[in-house]
Structure formats: structure tokens, C-alpha cells
């Protein structure tokens, strides 16, 4: 009998332990932000071509279910075909070549705080003296919670 009461006491203790922290807070956010480059005015798109010595306007529609975080653009060469895009469509790549003065851009675009959707737009100047060829245009978007979506586009600089 003594054993039994001891056992039940312990079970009761366990029950208390397992219940004591179930405060009901709002559900956590597990949804990734979205980068939309499908709209008609979005640029660049997969396989877009831009020119040296000229400017182009980057445009994409960003959205998140709670709040957008930060946006980063990165252009780096793909002369060695080492990387690939996240898009299904394949672009024609030029021959593999050694970089001499490849274009490099790492640019942060500020998203005003508290936004669920944002039309991002930024002017990008391509210097005239850089290597032409295949490049990658990486768009990295986070939301406030730290979920990140990456879009990798293949572009050409002529």
C-alpha cells in the first residue's frame, strides 16, 4: 500500500511538472518571406542582359506574412560556371574564362520597418571597365524573425 501511494505521489508530481509551463502564447511565425520577380516591371529577370557603363533599376516586390527584415543584393561573376540559379529556365552561358576585373557588388537595401509588402527599387551603376560575361544576381531577403529566402538569377553583362 505504501508503495502504491508513493507511486501515485510521483505520478502526480510528474503531471504537475509537465503542465506547469503551458502558457498559451500566440503561435510562432514559420513562414518565409517572398521575392516576386514575376511582375511585369520587375528587373532583372532570369537571363536578363545589362550593359557596361550604364545604369539599370533593380525592381522586385517583397512580401512577408508578419514583417519584412532586410534585403541584400549581390552581383558576382560566373565565369567558371561554378554556381547556378534557383530558376528553372537555363540561360546560354559563354565559355569558361579567367576573371581579370570582374564586377562585384554587395549592396544592402533598406526596407522601412514595419512593412508586410514593399516594392524594392534601386539604381545600379555598372562600371565601364569591368569584365563582360556571365554573372549571378543574388537577392537575399529576410523577415524580422530571421527566415530567409534566396533568389539567384543568371544575368549577362555586355
Amino acid at each position: 500500500m505504501k508503495k502504491l501511494s508513493l507511486l501515485s505521489l510521483c505520478l502526480a508530481l510528474m503531471l504537475v511538472l509537465s503542465n506547469c509551463s503551458k502558457d498559451n502564447t500566440e503561435p510562432i511565425d514559420t513562414i518565409y518571406p517572398e521575392i516576386n520577380t514575376a511582375t511585369s516591371d520587375a528587373f532583372p529577370k532570369q537571363c536578363s542582359v545589362v550593359k557596361r557603363g550604364e545604369k539599370f533599376i533593380f525592381k522586385a516586390l517583397l512580401s512577408d506574412n508578419v514583417q519584412l527584415g532586410s534585403l541584400n543584393l549581390d552581383i558576382h561573376h560566373n565565369f567558371d560556371h561554378h554556381t547556378h540559379s534557383t530558376e528553372l529556365e537555363e540561360c546560354n552561358l559563354a565559355q569558361v574564362k579567367q576573371p581579370v576585373k570582374p564586377f562585384l557588388l554587395i549592396k544592402n537595401i533598406t526596407i522601412p520597418s514595419g512593412q508586410k509588402t514593399y516594392q524594392a527599387s534601386a539604381e545600379i551603376q555598372i562600371p565601364a571597365d569591368i569584365d563582360p560575361g556571365d554573372y549571378h544576381f543574388m537577392i537575399r531577403l529576410t523577415d524580422k524573425e530571421g527566415w530567409q529566402t534566396i533568389k539567384g538569377l543568371s544575368i549577362k553583362i555586355e
Partner: protein, 754 residues
């Protein structure tokens, strides 16, 4: 085909040696731990069982002990993977078998691995390589689930895995064993050869292990690394092959009241990383080169060498039992990968640098350890006082940077009292004080980065880490009770544990090439503290037993890698910044174990585990902790025939493990669906040339189920776990009788068989 011959060759060798000495060898080969006549063997086993039962009853922490039998039966890619069958134990693996342990969801530097009495120090923080431990050399493994800092010092927050070597051989013996192993999934073949001997007081015990494996196969043709579809050749995971060697030599002097043993070992491994998922982004690779052979290791790959020299001595006199361990370890790890410039690195690797363009990373760690303990019995008190100290020197190399070089020293003293009130109640109390110091060294980039200062753009080499000197101290305690009446067992323990922040948490500032993230340390972190309450309730009957072990755990300042909303736009090439931070964390869960003997030959087992973790403050308030294992249960049915039949010591066992889905995630994790797996184990012991051979067979993931493991290193890139794997292992013991012994044994043999 080649592997077949490699397997065959040692087999031939064994049988030859076996036949050669058939006349004189012993009927039972378990001589190492038991005296020759097999009637004694049974007795020994019983004693061992009692010892474990006693340990279970006298230890207020949750302890599981497993022997080499368990390892042989469930042999997996690594010791940690083998232990995964136990409730509450999981691993973070990289597929090919190498893995890091997770005890109740805590891993890396929150689990202490003790090897031959000394804390194993490698690069514990990394998920991409295994523990440098040879599972063939492990005779017994003791697992402590729960806070054990009071005896093991910093890091023992989640638990302890104590790997014990084989006991010293019996007097006047010379013998050994040959293990052969083959695995179908990654075409692994391997062998471990052990030779031991002892005259009177001196003994030696040596072992050589070699394993070689190819790319492992997964039940899918295409893997999606983020959104990029990677086609797999023959369903093999490109470039995940590898090799491992282990060399061991133990020698020492054993006498009543005094023993001193030296353990020398060197573990080396070379293994490849999945080629499409290493670097700053998913990569297109030269598939022709990689797919030409499933056994070659191309870049990216890693090589790890772990050297150890340990001395363990103990001395008993006047009621005191003095123990000492002295250790030297060197862990040397290199990661090789083709140079890929990122951020402002020059597009072509400059030839003026002295570092090889293929050496991505190098960590060189030297560790000196010393432990002292004194045990004394005073009345009903068993008092243990002890001292642990460790000094580490860590150097780095390679063209990338993640963690600065550092030196670290720590020391701790403890006192632990076990007080036996009566036959039923044991009380435990412990107190410990630790002091530690870490000195990190400045690191400057070898290339210029572009910085904007106001309107102008300047180029300069960035300082990634500054000199830093920090010291920590901590006072921890533990209290526990054991209550044993008849068949009932109760254990309770409450304790405080701590962990010194590691160099990576304080000073990381670089890209993690596996997760495409930029990791940043925080030099101001305070030592992590943890309070844990452990409970175990058990009931043992002849035919059945049940054990329930819940726990409750609170961290006022858990250190975790927080994925922020920001990006690094220098060295990290725009990668997301993961910042080390501290938050309050609450965890609870438990394990359940039920054993029932249906008939004399048929037994069944039900194991279950559950874990809940939640951050209750900080940036990720409301989220769980990374790598939280989902709930799972394992049902087992084991058939072991009559001990009289030909099939004595044989078994056939089937495991069905069902794992729940894990929707409780934290960035950057993904929700993982649940799955069910069937594993089969079978084995037989049989006599051949008067040696008792053990043949074990396993089928892991019998149905070739395609599933994702939430705690896998490759989970983020949606990589399924290994498909069906048939594992076969054979243990062939041998004895070389010494002249003096021959006659005796022959007499015994003739007595026995007449």
C-alpha cells in the same frame, strides 16, 4: 568486387591461424574477461549484471550502461550512431555515419565525452564531422543523462558519455580477436584486429582498425539544394566516401592496490563533403570527375587526426582510493576546398600567399589534462574530493576565417558525498568551484575590403577578431536521493551546471560554408548556467520492468546562434548574419522504457522519448531550440532460442521506430514530417576450431524508406537519410596459449570433454 577480396583476405588469414592452433586453443574465447572453463563464464555475467544494477540503484543521476554486446548488435557508422537506439540519445549526423551525440536535445559543447578517464577534446562545436573515437575499442559505454557538471566540470550540462576501454587481460594470457565488417549502403569494408597479453603484472593490449567506404546511397534520384535540383548518379551522394584508421596501444602494470596504465592512440579519418552543397551557395560541380568513382574522395573534403596519450593510475591504501589521469591530446583538422572568392577576396588566388589555395580551414588543438580524485569511506559516508584541470592551445590556418586562435586554461575542485542512511535510502550532495580563462588572438584579413567612410570609399584589410582576454568562475552544486524498496526504484536529482562560452561563441566572425550563413560571436557572453531536476521511477519484476525518467530544465542564459534579419555585406558576401546571443530557455521531457518477457525465448521492449524546448526571452522568444528531436517510440521483439540448442547465444530481433513530425522549429530549420523505420538485428555465436565466433547481421532501414531526419546536418538542404543498409560483422577471437598454461588447459579440456 574489390571489397569482396579485401574481406576475404583477412578471413583466410584467421582460419589459418585458427587451424594452426586448434589443438591447444581454448573452448571459450572470452578469456579476456572470464576464466577459461565456460561454467565460470555464466557466473561472471551475473556478477556484471549485478554491478550495473547496483550502479543504477546507487546513482541518483540517470545512468545507462551498455557493453560491447550492444555495440556488436547495433553497430552503425560510428559509436554515437550505434548509441542512438537508446531512449533520449540522438545524433547530428552527416549521413556517412559520422556523427555528434545529442542527449535529450543538447549536443556539441553541452555533452562531455570521456575517453579513458579524460575529457575528449576535438572541435565539438562542429556538426560536420564525427567524434574521433574508435567504436571497436570501446568495451563499455556509460551514459549519464542530465546535469553532471559537479563531477565533470564545464560542458556537462546535457550529459556525459563515458567510453571505457577493455579491462586488463587475465594473468598469463596471450590472445586477441579479429573483427570484420561490411556494409551494403556505402560499400564499407573494415577490420579491427586486437592482440593482448599479460604475464604476471604487466600487460599490453593493442588494436588496429581500418575502414573504407564509398559514397552513401539515398532512396532518391534528385536532391533539392534549396531550390536547385541536383541529379544524383546511381542514387549516390556525390563525394561522401572516406577512410578511417585507428591505432591503439595500451600497456601497464596491474597489482593489488596499485595500477598504472598508459593508453596511446591515433585516430585518423578522411572524408568528403556532399560536393553540391559546400560553399557560399549551392554549387554546380564537375559531375564527370565526381561520378567516375564512388570510392574516391575529391574536394571538398576533410581530414582529421586525433592523437592521445593518457596515463591512468590508482592507488589504494589506508581506506583511501587515489586516482589520477594525465592526458595529452592533439586534434588536427583540415578542410580542403577549391578557392572560391567571396566578398572582396581577389577573383584569382594570389600566388604570394603561403597558404595553399586548397586549404580552406585548419584547426590545430593541443590539450593537456590532469584529474585527481580521492575516495574515502567514513562511517556511512563515501566522500570523494577531486581536482580537474585542462590547458588548451589552439592554432588556425587556411584562406578563410571563422574562429580566432586561442589559449584556454581551466581548473576545478569538487567534493561529493554519498551518504547511506539505511539499506533503502541513499543521499547525494556535491559542491564544485571552477575557474577558467580564455585568451583569443587578433586576426586580420589577407585581402582588402571596400569600406564607405562618409562619401569616400577606402580599401583596407579588415580586423576580424581582436585580442581578447576573459576569465570566468562558477559555483555549482547537486543534490540527489535514491530510494529502493523491493522492486521499486526512485531516483531524484536536482543540480546546477555551467558551461564556459567557447571561442567560437565569443569570437566567430566568418562564413559557415555548410549553412550559407555568416556567424558572429559576442565577446561579452557570460557563462551558461542550467538548473535541472531529474526523476526516475522504476519497477522490476521477474518478467517485466518499467522505467520512467522525466526531467525539467531551465537555463537563465542559454547561448544560441540567432539568425538575425540582417546581412553582412563585406566578407560574408551578403549572407545572413547569425549572431550568438543568450536567452532564457525552458526544457522538459522524458523517456519511457518497458520490458516484458512473453515466453522464455521471446521478449519485447517498448522505448519512448519526448522533448519540449522553448525560448522564453530574447529575439526568438516563443521558438524552440535548434536540433530539437521530435518525439519517437521504438517497439522491439526479440527471439533468443533455448540455451541448450545449437543456436545458443543467437538472437533475432526486430525494431520498429516511429518518429513524430517536428513542427516546432526555429529559423533556419524546416518542418520535418514523421516516419516509421524497421531495423532488423540477428546474430549467432558458433564454435569453429575451438573458438567461439560471433556473426552479426543487421538490416537498417529495411524498407528503404525515404525520410528526413530533423537532427541531420544535411536536413536544411532536404537531403534524405541513407537508404537500406545491410551490415554484417564477424568477430573471431583467438588465443595463443603460453607454454606454462598449455598443460593446464589441455588437462582442463580433457576433463571437460570426457
Amino acid at each position: 568486387m574489390k571489397s569482396f577480396y579485401v574481406l576475404l583476405f583477412p578471413l583466410l588469414l584467421i582460419f589459418q591461424t585458427g587451424f594452426g592452433q586448434a589443438k591447444n586453443s581454448l573452448p571459450d574465447s572470452t578469456l579476456k574477461t572470464t576464466p577459461p572453463p565456460s561454467t565460470h563464464q555464466l557466473k561472471e555475467v551475473v556478477i556484471k549484471d549485478k554491478r550495473l544494477q547496483l550502479r543504477q540503484k546507487e546513482e541518483s543521476l540517470n545512468v545507462i550502461t551498455i557493453g560491447s554486446d550492444f555495440i556488436q548488435r547495433n553497430l552503425s557508422g560510428s559509436l554515437m550512431k550505434t548509441l542512438e537506439r537508446l531512449p533520449g540519445i540522438k545524433t547530428i549526423g552527416i549521413g556517412s555515419g559520422q556523427s555528434k551525440p545529442l542527449i535529450r536535445g543538447l549536443g556539441f559543447n553541452r555533452v562531455v565525452v570521456i575517453d579513458k578517464g579524460v575529457k575528449h577534446e576535438g572541435q565539438q562545436w562542429g556538426a560536420d564531422h564525427g567524434l574521433e573515437i574508435d567504436q571497436f575499442a570501446a568495451a563499455e559505454v556509460e551514459l549519464i543523462k542530465g546535469a553532471a557538471s559537479f563531477i565533470y566540470g564545464s560542458d556537462a550540462i546535457g550529459g556525459v558519455i563515458d567510453v571505457k576501454p577493455a579491462n586488463a587481460p587475465q594473468k598469463n594470457t596471450l590472445g586477441g580477436s579479429i573483427d570484420l565488417i561490411g556494409k551494403s549502403n556505402n560499400n564499407l569494408y573494415g577490420s579491427s584486429v586486437n592482440v593482448f597479453g599479460r604475464k604476471e603484472d604487466w600487460f599490453f593490449d593493442s588494436r588496429i582498425t581500418y575502414q573504407n567506404y564509398g559514397d552513401y546511397s539515398v532512396p532518391t534520384d534528385t536532391v533539392f539544394v534549396y531550390d536547385y535540383a541536383v541529379r544524383l548518379h546511381n542514387r549516390n551522394l556525390r563525394n561522401t566516401a572516406g577512410q578511417e584508421t585507428g591505432l591503439h596501444l595500451n600497456t601497464g602494470y596491474v597489482k593489488e592496490g596499485f595500477r598504472s596504465v598508459f593508453y596511446l592512440s591515433n585516430i585518423y579519418s578522411k572524408s568528403g563533403f556532399f560536393a553540391n552543397a559546400h560553399g557560399l551557395e549551392p554549387r554546380r560541380v564537375n559531375t564527370e570527375m565526381h561520378d567516375a568513382s564512388a570510392r574516391d574522395v575529391q574536394m571538398p573534403n576533410q581530414q582529421v587526426n586525433h592523437f592521445k596519450l593518457i596515463n591512468r593510475s590508482n592507488y589504494q591504501a589506508k581506506g583511501h582510493k587515489l586516482e589520477m589521469e594525465l592526458g595529452y591530446q592533439r586534434n588536427f583538422r583540415q578542410e580542403f576546398s577549391q578557392y572560391v572568392n567571396h566578398g572582396y577576396m581577389p577573383p584569382v588566388y594570389p600566388d604570394y600567399l603561403s597558404i595553399s589555395p586548397e586549404l580552406e580551414r585548419e584547426f590545430d588543438k593541443r590539450v593537456y589534462s590532469m584529474n585527481l580524485r580521492d575516495m574515502i569511506n567514513v562511517g556511512n559516508h563515501q566522500l570523494t574530493t577531486g581536482f580537474n584541470s585542462e590547458y588548451q592551445d589552439n592554432a588556425i590556418n587556411g584562406w578563410t576565417f571563422l574562429v580566432p586562435s586561442f589559449k584556454q586554461a581551466s581548473a576545478g575542485v569538487f567534493v561529493y558525498d554519498k551518504y547511506k542512511i539505511n539499506e533503502q535510502v541513499l543521499l547525494h550532495g556535491a559542491l564544485r568551484y571552477d575557474y577558467g580563462q580564455i585568451r583569443m588572438f587578433k586576426y586580420t584579413d589577407w585581402f582588402d575590403s571596400e569600406l564607405t567612410a562618409g562619401e569616400t570609399i577606402i580599401s583596407e584589410k579588415l580586423i576580424r577578431a581582436n585580442d581578447l582576454n576573459r576569465s570566468f568562475n562558477s559555483l555549482v552544486w547537486s543534490a540527489g536521493i535514491n530510494y529502493n524498496v523491493h522492486n521499486f526504484l526512485l531516483k531524484a536529482n536536482i543540480g546546477k551546471s555551467f558551461r564556459m562560452p567557447i571561442a567560437k561563441e565569443l569570437g566567430a566572425n566568418g562564413v559557415n560554408y555548410h549553412y550559407f550563413s555568416y556567424e558572429k560571436g559576442d565577446a561579452t557572453l557570460s557563462p551558461e548556467q542550467s538548473y535541472q531536476l531529474d526523476l526516475s521511477l522504476g519497477w522490476n519484476e521477474d518478467r517485466w520492468s518499467v522505467l520512467i525518467s522525466p526531467f525539467y530544465n531551465y537555463f537563465p542564459n542559454y547561448i544560441y546562434l540567432n539568425p538575425t534579419a540582417n546581412h553582412d555585406f563585406y566578407y560574408g558576401a551578403g549572407n545572413q548574419i547569425f549572431q550568438y546571443a543568450q536567452s532564457k530557455v525552458l526544457r522538459y521531457g522524458g523517456e519511457f522504457q518497458l520490458k516484458y518477457k512473453v515466453t522464455e525465448n521471446l521478449s519485447t521492449e517498448l522505448l519512448g522519448e519526448y522533448l519540449f524546448a522553448k525560448q522564453v526571452s530574447g529575439d526568438k522568444k516563443g521558438y524552440t531550440l535548434p536540433f530539437s528531436p521530435p518525439a519517437s517510440a521504438l517497439a522491439n521483439l526479440t527471439w533468443s532460442p533455448e540455451s541448450e540448442s545449437f543456436f545458443k547465444h543467437s538472437y533475432f530481433s526486430i525494431d520498429y521506430r516511429i518518429t513524430a513530425k517536428q513542427n516546432n522549429i526555429v529559423p533556419p530549420e524546416k518542418k520535418t514530417p514523421g516516419y516509421g523505420l524497421i531495423n532488423i538485428q540477428a546474430g549467432i555465436k558458433f564454435g569453429l576450431c575451438r573458438q567461439q565466433l560471433t556473426l552479426s547481421l543487421q538490416a537498417q532501414n529495411l524498407l528503404n524508406t525515404k525520410y528526413l531526419n530533423h537532427t541531420s546536418f544535411y536536413r536544411l538542404i532536404e537531403l534524405p537519410e541513407a537508404g537500406r543498409n545491410i551490415i554484417m560483422s564477424l568477430k573471431v577471437p583467438f588465443n595463443i596459449p603460453l607454454n606454462k598454461q598449455k598443460k593446464e588447459i589441455n588437462n582442463e579440456l580433457s576433463n571437460k570433454y570426457n
